[in-house]
């Protein structure tokens, strides 16, 4: 195995494109190294992107934020401006693993590992985040929900790297939130994850809402019906019940060592509803 630590994104793309064998990008490494040790993957080349300065930056841009691919989750939690604008995304990233994992794991790595149970991805999808991808054919932007395609699979072509994530600006009276279910209080992989991002009109009526669910299908879901259930409402009990029902209906979960189908379907509705209430609270400034 070869280890390379280029200091520019173009050099990184060049290395990845030229490699005939199996090549992987190393940002936090908290998924990649676990797979390497279990023999799940045997890389011929690992490209460490943490020496590429722009990828380590969080920069304000057009009212939103651009987060470099190599920024560890812990740094997101320490950026008060980002936390103020997108509290849901930051709390999702800060739920990944332990404090030690937080010091390394990145949202882009979490996204590219493409586990349906990834913690940060439902919040990013709800937020309408966009991934900037650099490859041999240049730069392109795609919404986060189009990156992961199946467990462990992404839509990236050979030689392509995710350079950064862009979280858009927010209108007034907007809020987001992320909740997950784990049997312990820390350290577990999400059995169910729910991200909600919504905007309220001047009279408190919900004018826009996106609901995204993790660990309930082969990839993270953007559940349009769940969002629509609260648009036009003031998030009264009825609207929230409809949101919960829509969330549960969208689930296509499996039974595995972490949870059963019925459990995931039922709890998806519970978490989506609770997350919506928190997002609403944040949108109204309570």
């Amino acid at each position: 195995m070869r280890y390379e630590a280029p200091n520019s994104i173009d050099k990184a793309v060049e290395l990845l494109a030229a490699e005939k064998g199996q090549a992987f990008v190393l940002a936090g490494g908290t998924d990649l190294l676990v797979r390497m040790k279990s023999g799940f993957v045997e890389p011929d080349l690992v490209v460490d992107v943490k020496r590429i300065e722009p990828l380590r930056k969080i920069t304000a841009e057009k009212g939103g934020f651009r987060i470099g691919a190599a920024v560890p989750a812990a740094e997101l939690g320490e950026n008060s401006a980002l936390k103020k604008l997108w509290p849901g995304v930051v709390e999702a990233a800060n739920l990944i693993g332990s404090t030690q994992i937080q010091g390394r794991a990145t949202m882009v790595g979490n996204m590219c590992n493409a586990s349906p149970a990834a913690d940060s991805v439902p919040a990013l999808v709800a937020a309408g985040a966009v991934a900037t991808i650099v490859g041999p054919k240049g730069r392109r932007d795609i919404p986060v929900e189009e990156v992961g395609t199946a467990p462990g699979k992404t839509s990236l072509a050979k030689g392509e790297i995710v350079e950064s994530l862009y979280l858009p600006a927010r209108p007034a009276r907007a809020g987001d939130a992320y909740l997950r279910f784990i049997p312990r209080t820390e350290m577990d992989i999400a059995v169910v994850g729910a991200g909600v991002s919504l905007t309220l009109g001047a009279d408190g009526t919900c004018t826009a809402a996106r609901v995204s669910l993790g660990a309930v299908a082969a990839r993270v879901l953007l559940v349009k019906e769940a969002g629509d259930a609260i648009i036009g409402s003031k998030l009264d009990e009825g609207a929230l019940d409809k949101l919960a029902a829509a969330a549960s209906a969208a689930c296509k979960p499996i039974d595995d060592k972490r949870g059963t189908k019925d459990f995931r379907i039922q709890v998806a509705g519970v978490l989506a509803r609770r997350a919506a209430v928190i997002a609403h609270g944040r949108a109204t400034g309570k």
């Binding site: 049997p183 060592k257 059963t260």
Partner: protein, 804 residues
């Protein structure tokens, strides 16, 4: 207690015992200098790795390691052929460290390699070709008992079956377990005369996965149930759990061409490792020296051997030292988790709350070899109760899983989960406080125990009364919260123990112990030595001596270390004091029996002794060379009379009815320690045992797929409690002296894991109104039970109604 051991007078005030000094071995552990099993290296050392069976059950037709041996850097390969059959008592451990005719569980060792590096060793494993004939497997205890189950051992016949299989119930039972037996045929069949487990009594004719049937109890349970106003009968299930020690198994072996061997590594019993390894390698015991490194947790899981004989065999073949360290995946697949079980419990009581009959049937699988702790589970089941009619039957079953090893009070948490849950239900059914219900039926001195002997002085009632007085028991609860209570017991043991106590030139003491110190017992040994000698605590240094420096010591298990090594330390100190007084008498020219030892000094006593200045330990030590030579005290014993330890736990939980998650909001452990030598480490045993019990109750389990493979061999999905899962764990130490020890101390290491399983099940029942019959009480199970309850309009239909 042997007659030569004098207990201290009741009400004796201790000076060093009972205080909380810093442990003598603490500095290295907080600076990272302490050397654990994987921290040793040796010049020219090779790395050993094990090839493990990917199949749960397979015949091994052949093993071809030629390609592996041809790989540059590979120095040796061992297989079954490198271990010869020997003493039949070692038949199972021989098969467990290295598979012979069959691989009996996924992860079972099939071959091992020694190479210049871990990377080369891993590559070599892939080059070993094993010709497996895959066989059908079974991992569930009840399925393994069926007549049509795949049989693991062709030579295993069920022992201890009931006398006459002709009565219907027993014949049905025999039928159920594949023992097709015709009563007439029993007498004439010579085969019955001899069998592996001996005796002419009836046993199964066909090989079976049921190794043995155990039974305890007295009185007539059927008569008792007839007298009961209320009878509750439930069937519980528990999954296998692992001790969860954070340090994987590790050792460094060196087998010289002169036939001398060295072993260095983490174990709860290095003398056991020496004897077993010497036997498996055909060595004289004296040729093998084993040194116990610091041990990163054991809880019973390091009371046997896994890597040590294999590392020695590799080292013998390669002519170089070999280091072997398990990774976490191997620890889960191939060390010694405890049993999974079904527990059928039936208890009847009067409206006034007096138990009239109690019966249980336990089925525990002990993995691929016989010897699950079902006998101790059956004995411990009703140990806390004063019963007129009691019966406990236990079935020891083998399945295609790793061979179980002890896990802290082995078997007792499993039976207590069933018994203490049904006791709780009975109390609520007759509207009686569960604490009063237990007080009304509690075992006390003179009670005939459910496993036979009559109790001497025991501390159960004091723990129950302490609960009654404890603020936790009456504290208010918030909505969605519930409180549960459960009692627990463990036997505790003495065992073979040697201590030598040497007086140094400056009057300080070198204490050599043979019981590996896992949780801080070196501190309590120094306290007992200092107490007896009348010198300051920090004048004693305790070390764990290797097998060539001290006589044989049993494994540190059965909560025995502080009891047995403590007793031996006290006696060794008294032995030394005798000699010190002798030297003082010589120096004063008076007779030895006119000298007494008080507060660290020899003093003349008695009318004609004369008034000499008292001589301190240091005074006598300084001139020891001139008065006869070095002074030392020794004591070797097979300690008995360890004395039982009872405990009662109170658990408060909060259940989220929408997700089924359970949070522990408050927890209190009240346990009898006899005499707390170092109270901080006694509290540590109470808190650690409770935390393991909480994990067992809520989240820990071995999950097997249909393919017989373990699905969660890692700390990600084998979920032990993390810091944020638990509240502070409050403790109350009761001191009801144990007459079997000079200071009255009892073993405390194991009882604390017994009550939590039921305490939390009772709390969840109080909080969410659902009686959980299966462990772990994971959120999906609780949510389903709550859903079932809502659907059944409040009358939850437990499926536990069936008899077995």
């Amino acid at each position: 207690m042997p007659l030569d051991i004098k207990p201290v007078a009741p009400g004796h005030s201790f000076t060093v015992v009972g205080t909380r000094p810093l442990r003598p071995d603490g500095l290295d552990k907080v600076t990272g200098r302490a050397k654990f099993g994987a921290d040793a290296t040796a010049p020219g050392m090779l790395i050993g790795k094990v090839l493990r069976s990917p199949h749960a059950h397979a015949r091994i037709r052949s093993i071809d390691a030629s390609k592996a041996l041809a790989l540059p850097g590979v120095k040796a390969v061992v297989t079954r052929d490198d271990f010869k059959e020997g003493d039949p008592d070692f038949r199972d451990v021989l098969r467990n460290i290295m598979a012979r005719d069959k691989a009996l569980y996924e992860g079972h060792a099939v071959a091992a390699v020694a190479a210049v590096s871990a990377i080369v060793a891993r590559k070599a494993l892939k080059l070993i070709k094993v010709d497996y004939q895959v066989l059908p497997h079974v991992t569930d205890v009840e399925q393994a008992m069926r007549a049509d189950a795949p049989v693991l051992h062709d030579d295993m016949f069920t022992a201890g079956l009931e006398e006459a299989p002709d009565n219907a119930a027993s014949a049905a039972k025999a039928e159920e377990f594949g023992h097709v037996e015709d009563a007439k045929e029993k007498e004439s069949d010579p085969h019955h005369g001899a069998s592996l487990t001996g005796g002419f009594r009836p046993q199964s004719k066909k090989p079976s996965n049921v190794a043995k049937r155990h039974e305890f109890g007295h009185g007539d349970v059927e008569k008792g149930f007839a007298k009961a106003d209320i009878v509750i009968e439930r069937k519980f299930r528990t999954e296998a759990t692992h001790q969860g020690y954070i340090e994987p198994h590790a050792c460094l072996a060196n087998y010289g061409s002169d036939g001398q061997g060295e072993l260095w590594g983490c174990t709860q019993g290095h003398y056991m490792v020496r004897n077993v390894s010497a036997q498996l390698l055909g060595m004289d015991v004296s040729k093998l020296r084993v040194t116990a490194s610091e041990i990163g947790g054991g809880f019973g899981g390091k009371t046997t051997v896994f890597l040590e004989p294999v590392a020695l065999a590799l080292s013998r073949k390669a002519g170089k030292p070999v280091k072997m360290v398990m990774n976490r995946d191997e620890v889960f697949r191939a060390s010694g988790p405890t049993s999974s079980a079904t527990i059928w419990v039936k208890i009847g009581c009067t409206k006034a709350g007096r138990i009239t009959a109690a019966e249980t049937e336990l089925k525990l699988q002990g993995g691929a070899f016989a010897g699950s702790p079902v006998d101790m589970a059956a004995m411990a089941a009703f140990a806390c109760y004063d019963l007129e009619n009691v019966k406990a039957v236990g079935w020891d079953v083998v399945v295609n899983r790793p061979k179980q090893a002890a896990y802290r009070a082995p078997g007792a948490p499993i039976s207590a989960f069933g018994v203490e849950s049904v006791i709780d239900e009975l109390a609520h059914k007759i509207g009686m406080d569960p604490l009063d219900f237990r007080l009304k039926n509690a075992a006390k001195e003179g009670t005939k125990s459910s496993y036979g002997p009559t109790y001497g002085p025991i501390g159960l009632i004091p723990t129950l009364e302490a609960v009654k007085k404890h603020p936790h028991y009456k504290a208010p609860l918030k909505a969605g919260q519930g409180r549960g209570l459960a009692t627990g017991f463990w036997f505790n043991f003495g065992g073979q123990t040697c201590v030598s106590l040497n007086i140094n030139i400056d009057g300080t003491v070198a204490l050599a112990l043979g019981t590996p110190d896992i949780g801080g017992s070196r501190a309590s040994m120094c306290q007992m030595a200092a107490e007896e000698l009348g010198i300051p605590y920090d004048k004693v240094r305790a070390v764990v001596a290797d097998t060539s420096s001290l006589g044989f010591n049993d494994v540190t298990e059965g909560s025995r270390a502080t009891f047995s090594s403590g007793l031996a330390t006290i006696q060794a100190a008294r032995d030394a004091i005798g000699k010190l007084c002798g030297r003082a008498a010589q120096m004063w020219g008076i007779s030895a029996d006119a000298v007494v030892w008080k507060k660290g000094h020899a003093k003349p006593s008695g009318s004609n002794a004369g008034n000499f200045e008292p001589l301190s330990l240091a005074d006598i030590a300084k001139v020891a060379a001139n008065t006869g030579g070095p002074i030392a005290g020794h004591y070797e014993v097979n300690a008995e009379g360890a004395g039982v330890s009872f405990s009662t736990h109170i658990a408060d939980v909060e259940v989220d009815r929408e997700t089924g998650r359970t949070l522990i909001t408050r927890y209190t452990v009240i346990q009898d320690a006899g005499k707390a030598i170092h109270p901080s480490y006694v509290e540590g045993q109470y808190q650690g045992g409770a935390a393991q019990g909480i994990g067992w109750a809520l989240n820990e389990e071995y999950i097997y797929g249909e393919d017989g493979k373990l699905q969660n061999p890692g700390f990600l999905d084998y979920r032990i409690p993390v810091a944020s899962d638990l509240p502070m764990i409050d403790t109350v130490i009761l001191e009801i002296p144990n007459p079997g020890h000079p200071y009255g101390l009892r073993g405390v290491g194991e009882t604390s894991i017994v009550p939590p399983l039921a305490a939390i099940a009772n709390a969840v029942s109080a909080a969410a109104g659902v009686r959980m019959l299966e462990l772990p009480m994971s959120p999906p199970k609780i949510l389903k039970a709550i859903g079932g309850q809502a659907a059944g309009k409040g009358k939850s239909k437990e499926k536990g109604g069936s008899k077995r």
